[in-house]
Subunit: 153 residues, 2 copies
């Protein structure tokens, strides 16, 4: 146990993460802690960076499961350095880029759908997200069961 350990409250203060969440993270194997003689948690300073990593990863959209896997790739024989953290977080970028693309597609489909009487066409890309770009002709299913009579004049 290093000379300058942190209590759970100190970690909570510094990271802005509730103590209950920190205990939860420990149970989930995302962080770990030594114990005082009396059984209280004593955190190494490194935990601050780990917690920060977890929170940012969550913002990117990773689940705790995925975050745990990512953290497992850190070296366990030494304190992770800048390059270690970089390697992990660099892999988030494609994911973000993909998420942005999905939302942009949705935004654009929404526009064209507003023009087409939103949700009233069998082949509406909005309601048929999976193959929006690919299958604009005839889908495998008549999505809304509309007939030509349903369409606005």
């Amino acid at each position: 146990m290093p000379d300058e350990w942190l209590t759970i409250g100190a970690v909570a203060d510094r990271t802005g993460v509730a103590t209950s969440a920190l205990r939860f993270y420990e149970r989930e194997g995302l962080i770990d802690a030594a114990r005082s003689e009396g059984g209280q948690r004593r955190f190494h300073r490194d935990v601050l960076r780990r917690v920060a990593f977890v929170r940012v990863a969550q913002r990117v959209g990773l689940t705790l499961d995925e975050i745990r896997s990512a953290l497992a790739q850190l070296p366990d024989n030494r304190t992770p350095n800048q390059r270690d953290w970089q390697r992990l977080s660099r892999s988030w970028r494609p994911r973000l880029v993909e998420q942005i693309a999905v939302l942009e597609r949705l935004r654009d489909e929404l526009s064209s759908c507003i023009g087409c009487g939103c949700l009233s066409l069998r082949t509406c890309a909005l309601y048929n997200p999976d193959d929006a770009a690919a299958t604009l002709g005839v889908g495998p299913r008549y999505l809304l069961g509309d007939t030509a009579a349903d369409l606005p004049t």
Copy 2:
């Protein structure tokens, strides 16, 4: 009850939404259904459009609560027409645009953070999302508790 009602199974087939979800939506007041003599649900064709609306709204990121509120603005004395649906879905666009902006900001901060040794600076915009652009000087809190000694050489 119109001549051409739909059973719950038919609605499920046409919309791709499970019967259990449809019953749930009815309980939640998102859709409604008449009943047969024997007590089985009989849906008007309009429900297809409503269900489609719900699913697309979910993709946009609305909660069922919000969707219920949106649906409440539809006229209840007549079948909603194209303009009615348009009005509702048009309001989604700013929301989507905002979501996209958030992700783009995150993406860009991630890039610059990779350059700065991700998660190691007190003022890291990544970990301090709320006022990322505003407070690049001195934040109200020393986020990670890092000192100059922690920074990579």
